[in-house]
């Protein structure tokens, strides 16, 4: 296993300014969207249930910044961050959370199934590990069409105990497909900690079984995530095959909103919160790059305005008719 340490100040300073701003903007958008979704959910405005990615923003932002616009992602039940980072708009996402006709899925998918094929978002998925074989297939398609596209498949640590993980990664390795498997290791599969899921210290060790690179990075360091993902994505684009990228991070909330998460020691949560990926990056942008507090405040204000408009859009959007349920089964 290779462990990339947290990125150096020089590494950050070497990145283009517009990229740094993009990373920051994406993380802010995810943070604000998730905070608002939580608030609306607790106020009883959103049906269903909600899996929050608060605390994991750097993984989605770092990986998606390294993708091309026409690249694909597959996402998970905890997928708001991934799809925002891939370029989806807050208004249609929020409308989907409200179950409105203007949502990305016309209210048929909800929080767990947001998809926009025109943006390369092949769907968040309610079945743990189910996105991996689909990502493998999208990568096969890209290889066969010689399109130069790469796929990033997001999943959690829990997914790596599924048979679908093994089958999908092995097949991609055998066929040298252009796909990067991105494990957001947030240390818990619902309530089960890592040490009761596997006998190895890190998920990336599993890569050895498939003869592909396995890298572990600090998933709360967006620069480290971006650099590692970028290397593996470009490697895949060159035709050198798939890789497994483990990003170590932590979800601040329980598995779903309402899960008290009493299975986690409070000091553990406190430690991870002291490593808030957004605050760390904000501080570094001020200290290691030449960003001003005003610039960052502007980014935050713009994201906040977008969010406010999104909630307004979602609330004002029409609800589906009951019989709309009968449409969209068949092409």
């Amino acid at each position: 296993m290779s462990v990339t340490p947290q990125s150096s100040p020089a590494a950050l300073a070497a990145l283009p300014r517009n990229l740094l701003e993009r990373l920051y903007r994406t993380m802010v958008r995810i943070r604000l969207f998730e905070q608002k979704a939580l608030e609306l959910f607790l106020a009883g405005e959103l049906p269903g249930f909600l899996h929050s990615c608060l605390g994991q923003e750097a993984v989605a932002a770092g990986v998606c910044a390294a993708l091309r616009e026409d690249d694909y992602i597959t996402s998970t039940h905890r997928g708001h961050g991934h799809v925002l980072a891939k370029g989806l708009a807050m208004d249609r996402m929020m409308a989907e959370l409200y179950g409105k006709t203007t949502g990305y899925c016309k209210g048929k998918g909800g929080s767990m199934h947001i998809a926009d094929f025109s943006c390369g978002v092949l769907g968040a998925n309610g079945i743990v590990a189910a996105g991996l074989p689909i990502a493998t297939g999208a990568a096969l398609s890209a290889q066969m069409r010689r399109s130069g596209q790469v796929v990033a498949a997001f999943f959690g640590d829990g997914a790596t105990s599924q048979g679908a993980f093994h089958e999908a990664v092995n097949l991609a390795a055998v066929w040298k497909l252009p796909v990067v498997y991105v494990c957001e290791n947030n240390h818990y599969a619902v309530s089960t900690p890592l040490e009761r899921q596997m006998r190895i210290a890190s998920v990336s060790e599993r890569a050895a079984a498939y003869g592909i690179p396995g890298i572990t990075v600090d998933g709360n360091d967006v620069v480290a995530v971006y650099q590692a993902a970028g290397d593996l994505i470009e490697r895949a684009r060159r035709g050198e095959g798939p890789a497994l990228l483990e990003c170590r991070t932590y979800r601040w909330l329980g598995h779903y909103v309402g899960d008290p998460a009493t299975y986690r020691p409070p000091e553990e949560l406190a430690w991870w919160k002291s490593r808030d990926p957004l605050l760390i990056f904000e501080r570094r942008l001020l200290q290691e790059a030449d960003f001003s507090e005003q610039e960052l405040a502007l980014v935050r204000r713009e994201a906040s305005d977008e969010l406010e408009a999104a909630v307004d859009f979602a609330r004002r959007s029409p609800a589906p008719r009951p019989e709309d349920a009968l449409e969209d089964v068949w092409p």
Binding site: Y72, T74, G103, Y104, C105, K106, G107, K108, G109, H113, A115, D116, F117, S118, L122, G123, N125, G126, I127, A130, L132, P133, I134, A135, T136, G137, A138, A139, L140, S141, A142, M144, R145, G163, A164, E167, A168, N170, L171, V174, W175, E327, D328, V329, W330, P331
Partner: protein
């Protein structure tokens, strides 16, 4: 017209569609150099090569899932699940992904994927290589399900399946690969949802699936000798189901017998019987009758296997009871 085997008709359909559309490709276990366990893909690897006739590791979930992912992104894969019994391993990708991604995404996705597989008993393959599981997939909204019984039908329906933008579970029968039949030399397609009236009759309707079509036709011969005129209908696809043709026949005969190898309980036969009763109970002179697989796993010993799978004699006996 040519007389060809069912397995050749499968292969010809695949070959024609692969020549016609470069997005069509095959993936599955042992389908390439080996030519398929039942030799239905023999010769295709030689013509189309490794890229379009893809031998996979032994990974049903990855085979099905990779097909779904490729279909979502512009390809038209035909994935082979060697035995329908093995579909259990792939069922999440088929029933939760392929069947639902279009709906869950509000109609965005097109998923032109065909899952080719084969089912059926009669070779002493025992409980894990002989089941007929069409009811499992027919139950899930979003999947089309075809069960061709003849070389003519398997070719025409497979070509249609490959051109369909919805996921199709295409179920062949292992004991039909060696059946010969007439197939036109020129191209043809068979639309889904159009039953075939295999034999006309006025006394009794038998709706038969897959290999049971052949047994139903044999039974009809026997019954004809005794003065009972049987109409045999093969729905050919169960999703969509051509209920109109079945109803028209039942309105004529007033008697309905349904036969398939799949377990009787909660099977397609129950669905057909229920739909007929709902829509045409007044025209029925007798309650519908199912002659289907017994509700036990498929046993190994031929004498037991034959007992749990409907035979011609079972059909004849049930038909006579319905005529009493």
């Amino acid at each position: 017209m040519s007389q060809i085997f069912y397995r050749q008709a499968v292969r010809d359909a695949l070959r024609e569609e692969m020549r016609r559309d470069e997005r069509v490709f095959l993936l599955g276990l042992d389908i390439g150099r080996f030519g398929g366990t039942y030799k239905a893909t023999q010769g295709l690897w030689e013509e189309f090569g490794d890229e379009r006739v893809r031998d996979t590791p032994l990974s049903e979930a990855a085979i099905a899932g990779a097909a779904v992912g490729a279909a979502l992104t512009g390809m038209r894969p035909v994935a082979e699940i060697m035995y329908m019994d093995f579909i259990t391993i792939a069922l999440d990708q088929i029933a939760n992904q392929a069947a639902k991604l279009r709906y869950m995404s509000g109609g965005q996705a097109r998923i032109p994927v065909v899952f080719r597989t084969q089912e059926g008993a009669g070779r002493s393959s025992a409980a894990q290589h002989a089941q007929s599981l069409e009811a499992w997939v027919a139950h899930i909204p979003g999947l089309k399900v075809a069960l061709p019984a003849t070389p003519y039908d398997v070719k025409g329906l497979l070509k249609t399946a490959i051109r369909d933008d919805a996921p199709v579970v295409f179920i062949e029968h292992k004991l039909l690969y060696g059946v010969k039949g007439e197939v036109p030399d020129e191209e043809y397609l068979i639309p889904f949802g159009h039953a075939r009236v295999c034999r006309q009759g006025t006394d009794l309707t038998i709706v038969a699936l897959s290999r049971m079509v052949w047994k139903a036709l044999e039974a009809a011969e026997v019954l004809a000798a005794e003065g009972i005129q049987v109409e045999v209908i093969d729905p050919r696809t169960v999703v969509p189901l051509d209920l109109a043709t079945i109803l028209a026949s039942v309105r004529k005969t007033g008697r309905l017998l349904i036969t398939h190898e799949a377990y009787t309980g909660f099977g397609v036969g129950a669905e057909i019987a229920s739909q007929v009763v709902e829509q045409a109970w007044q025209t029925l002179r007798k309650p519908p009758r199912r002659v289907c697989g017994r509700n036990v796993p498929i046993p190994f010993a031929p004498v037991m296997e034959n007992y749990v799978i409907p035979q011609v004699s079972d059909l004849v006996e049930a038909a006579k009871e319905l005529m009493r």
